[in-house]
Symmetry: C2
């Protein structure tokens, strides 16, 4: 297996990106190769710090890299030799099986969807899924994390299908419980998109358990939680923000006097455990589902451990044949509807426009 790592992706590139690749290479066997894409001189300089000469790591040079401030829709044209684009082309052309990047998420979406890997046939919108660790250490797939701020019901349904296949194939959950994030469990709660999506889920063969509130998400009531990209992003950012605020307040208050410092030392295993639970880098990254290739997007602030865990996740997705499962699964679940859904009908004018555009282009 060959996994591309965008060496110029993270905020502190190429330091954590290269270090994470080295960690993964040490853990993997010789049969798994890592391909670091980016500024060759800087990558080699980083590699030289790690005594990595015997590891199965190659370097592919790319003279540019995407910045966080770059406009995602223009980056393909403005930076044709960016490490992200070069890396994705390797996956597209079958020279690699997956790509891990901690770069600009908007650019990942655009370059993967429109310029290289493209959508799997039948996929309305690719979705950025995220793994969160909830009580009892259970991993929950949340989708969408932000790729589709204004989602249509049928896209939401596909987020559920792809999320469920991810939970099944990559996380090994035999029959994932799929739920819609809502402001109340009762049927009829939710905004319009949620209520319309619920009808599609209820008529499918997915293991749909209905609406869940944030409390139930954190208690592990569902394995896959479906939201539009705006709400999902707000919920995930709220989780991150509360965790950060908690540790900030804790640190400040514990350092106030010697007794508290002592108390803090005594409970430090507890604090470390909680910190580990909410640390996004423990998990690795967010899979972009619905394109023809394994793409894992790491947090821009990722450290080496975060990159390494994203690489591990990418390997698991390739091993489990995730992309093929989504190809087949989508067809199956779509056929499980009887005839076109109302959402599908609503959607047609849009599709017509798109087709028209393509003919003109």
């Amino acid at each position: 297996m060959r996994i591309v790592v965008d060496a110029m992706g993270s905020d502190h590139h190429p330091v954590p990106d290269v270090a994470g690749a080295v960690m993964a290479a040490r853990e993997f066997g010789k049969q798994d190769r890592l391909i670091l894409v980016g500024d060759r001189a800087r990558i080699l300089h980083e590699l030289s710090k790690h005594n990595a000469t015997n590891l199965p790591i190659e370097v592919v040079h790319a003279s540019q890299h995407v910045e966080m401030s770059d406009n995602p829709t223009r980056t393909a044209r403005q930076k044709p030799d960016s490490s992200m684009l070069v890396g994705m082309k390797l996956v597209r052309d079958g020279q690699a099986d997956a790509i891990v990047t901690a770069g600009n998420t908007g650019a990942v979406l655009t370059l993967a969807t429109l310029h290289t890997l493209r959508r799997i046939r039948g996929v309305r919108r690719p979705v950025l899924a995220s793994l969160i660790r909830v009580e009892n250490n259970q991993l929950v797939v949340m989708a969408d994390l932000g790729a589709n701020p204004d989602a249509q019901p049928e896209w939401m349904f596909q987020f559920g299908v792809m999320g469920s296949l991810y939970a099944q194939h990559v996380l090994g959950q035999p029959r994932p419980r799929v739920a819609l994030l809502s402001n109340g469990e009762e049927e009829g709660k939710g905004n319009q998109v949620v209520r319309r999506s619920a009808a599609l889920f209820a008529n499918s063969t997915l293991n749909f358990i209905g609406n869940v509130e944030p409390k139930e998400v954190l208690q592990g009531a569902a394995d896959v939680v479906v939201t539009d990209g705006f709400v999902g992003n707000i919920m995930l950012k709220t989780l991150e923000a509360v965790g950060a605020a908690f540790f900030r307040v804790m640190r400040r208050e514990l350092l106030r006097n010697p007794l508290r410092i002592l108390g803090g030392l005594l409970i430090s295993p507890v604090l470390r455990k909680i910190h580990k639970q909410i640390d996004p880098f423990e998990i690795g990254g967010a899979p972009l589902l619905g394109v023809n290739g394994v793409v894992i997007v790491s947090h821009g602030r990722s450290n080496a451990k975060g990159i390494k865990n994203a690489i591990v996740q990418a390997r698991r997705a390739v091993e489990s044949n995730l992309i093929e499962a989504i190809r087949q699964g989508l067809a199956q679940y779509i056929n499980s509807h009887e005839g076109p859904s109302p959402a599908r009908k609503l959607h047609r004018p849009y599709l017509a426009r798109r087709r028209h555009k393509r003919v003109n282009a």
Copy 2:
């Protein structure tokens, strides 16, 4: 001043509702009367436990009460003598200045908006605002908390105006910073509603500071945070859920061995401080803004302290002449637009339908 307390509102009614009213009456002077509405016998029984004979508390009998499971839109017809409806009529008829209830939020909205107090002239949709305490103990007004899961941009703008007036008049912030909750600070981020709302805010005389992410909300970057009712509800429930999960994990882990128990005792002031910060009952309740009267909705699980704090909040709203401020303020901010906004235009067919319906009814 006379404040109605729905004695049958909370999950454990009338116990915390009556106890909260007694606490408030003890704190207030003789000039402020509390009116407990509900089952007279049960209220008097509760009052007898509190040695409350000399306090300025009256009881008004109501033979029914709204349950959490009642359908909000039918409750006016099905329960014409509910404590909530009787209490609101007292406010409507000028026999009281405000009402505090921990009852069914949907019923509060319906009874206040459609059956008793009705909307202030020009208000598109009343909004349930919520106060959250963020770092540095600052209070932030979040609106909407759930009254309008699918909000139009112009409603969102009015949420901002009313939230700003609340922050100014009740919380005493001279020039509240108003922001839109979004998935990124940059202009152009957000879903459609947020992007369209931003244009209305930017053209107004409000102190609009742009988009804020959850992190900035918790750091106190804004005094008023505007969202639609779905997103606001998800964010608030996430905050509550994380707080509860944190204390659950903390308790379980601290009780594992004697050293941790000791550590927990040493840092207990810190834990209490954090608990107090995230305890919704410390603040009291959520004001329903945009109707002709002061309405404060407490959490169904409120304890006596929660009810008492909601009563204190109601008194402050009456003292500060909040309703009159909203009446005048709305007119002013609406005039500050030059001509009808695009959102207003979009909205017209809906208004036309409503008027039509009323004529027919």
